[in-house]
Symmetry: C2
Subunit: 306 residues, 2 copies
């Protein structure tokens, strides 16, 4: 059964004429006649009553016309939806992310993605960075957001945003009045350190590395704090000081002031990661949006600097 012939049949049936149908199909009438004849032979059924002044459908022809039209509609819809799925316009995407990612980068990315690909269902799951890697490997999520660096040969990693690390001080702190703070000056202060996960330095790594470069090892009064809110809360309570990503300022917690670190200008990188072998179209679309948003963000960040 050949679709071309079925198309020809529908044209002839709708036009009730070989001549008109041939014109509509942009072809000559004789080959159209032969094609219809072959279709009839293939089905073993007469589809048209030919007469010298046009054609009439037989009962079988009427039935075939209806069914063929339905089949064509179905086929068109299928082609359309397959195209859209293939281009990542339709589908589902599950993301894992560390809570901090939801402060700044993620919301703008998701907004942009939803605007551009409204027919992709998004599933969002907050989780610890080690879980993100694990869930990526077992396929439960398609992409993840966490603090770099990350070493995993089977995962692709791209930086989404580079953020300054700023000092969070109780507003009662003696250095709170300074516009900038020398990190060294806090060498003996109690530090509140973020959580650390096996083989994933992440934010913890950046904080300790920054202190190391400032020439001291931070005195951890509190370790392994998972949420930025908690860190900021502890700072507000005067338990200690902390180095946090600048976007934490969005939390607007009273009793805490944020100050740049003089000289070192430490940063932390939020990255997006995904399976190297994952060629899914939805994921590609998503990464494209992530990259565009990332460019926009770094551009506006540069502007802020000027």
């Amino acid at each position: 059964m050949d679709l071309r012939r079925l198309r020809y049949f529908v044209a002839v049936a709708e036009e009730r004429s070989f001549n008109r149908a041939a014109r509509r199909l942009h072809m000559a009438q004789p080959p159209l006649s032969t094609q219809i004849k072959q279709l009839e032979k293939e089905l073993g059924v007469r589809l048209f009553e030919r007469s010298s002044r046009g054609v009439r459908l037989t009962e079988a022809g009427e039935l075939l016309l209806e069914e063929a039209q339905r089949i064509f509609v179905q086929l068109d819809q299928t082609v359309s939806i397959v195209r859209r799925v293939g281009h990542g316009e339709v589908g589902r995407l599950t993301l894992g992310f560390v809570p901090s990612a939801s402060n700044e980068a993620l919301p703008t990315i998701l907004r942009a993605f939803r605007d551009r690909f409204p027919e992709v269902e998004l599933f969002l799951r907050e989780m610890r960075p080690d879980r993100i890697v694990q869930r990526l490997h077992d396929g439960q999520i398609d992409a993840g957001f966490l603090y770099l660096p990350l070493e995993d040969a089977s995962l692709n990693v791209e930086c989404v945003s580079r953020e300054a690390l700023v000092l969070a001080l109780p507003e009662t702190h003696s250095l709170a009045s300074e516009p900038e703070v020398e990190l060294r000056a806090l060498a003996d202060e109690p530090f509140i350190l973020p959580a650390r996960y096996q083989r994933m330095p992440g934010l913890y790594g950046q904080v300790t590395e920054t202190c190391r470069r400032a020439g001291f090892v931070p005195d951890a009064v509190q370790k392994d704090v998972w949420l930025m809110q908690t860190i900021v809360g502890l700072v507000a309570a005067g338990i200690g000081v902390a180095l946090v990503p600048a976007s934490v300022r969005n939390l607007r917690r009273t009793g805490v002031v944020y100050r740049p670190v003089r000289g070192l200008s430490p940063t932390v990188e939020l990255g997006v990661i995904w399976r190297r072998e994952d060629t899914g179209a939805v994921l590609s679309s998503f990464l494209q949006v992530v990259r565009e948003e990332s460019r926009d963000r770094s551009a506006s960040a540069r502007e802020e600097l000027c």
Copy 2:
């Protein structure tokens, strides 16, 4: 969109291998690869992830596989039903017939037709012979059964059964004891005559013609009687005598005896009629069955004569 390529796609998708699919399709692997590639190009979508040890479907491919399978099922069903409709195995058929036809010929025909074509819906409508012709012309019925002859150039006519006309006499009649009756002997008897319709001699014509051949014009005590039951009832009541088709004996009315006509052996023909230009497959199937049953009936009728 070409069905061949879609078929190839389904084969490769189901086999998860170009090689196996090619074998299943009775073709070589290279052209299969090129066809799939062209399908992908046409859709603008990657359908397979190729690797050195086989292929995997993409998300779009999975979707297309499902939809394509459904389309093929639908297409197969369509082809099948169109074939059956085209061969007159499925459809509907509306018949008009004079009541007398239901005595003998019609029941056996309908039984045979239902056995052979159980999926044809049958609609039966008892009507006067002139209505049968009219309803045929306006397309409300597809075939009709009535007594011949019939003159109508746009209708085809075929004889279904030739039946003897027999005399119906009150059992009290003086000739009721004879095994055969000379029609001439009834020249002065009151006759009950069947209904007559414009330009349709039918049963009425046969009766009067038979009497004419016997040398008299029947004395009509009652004319235009529509139902055979009524005629037989009038005979039983002693109102008169009548010539009726032999199958009327199936009515088994008491008080009436049926006697063959000596010498003349008059007959009446029940015919089937249909539109000359009607080429419907269901009608053809029906006529085929009618002819077979007609042959059977005339064969058994000949046997009865021996």
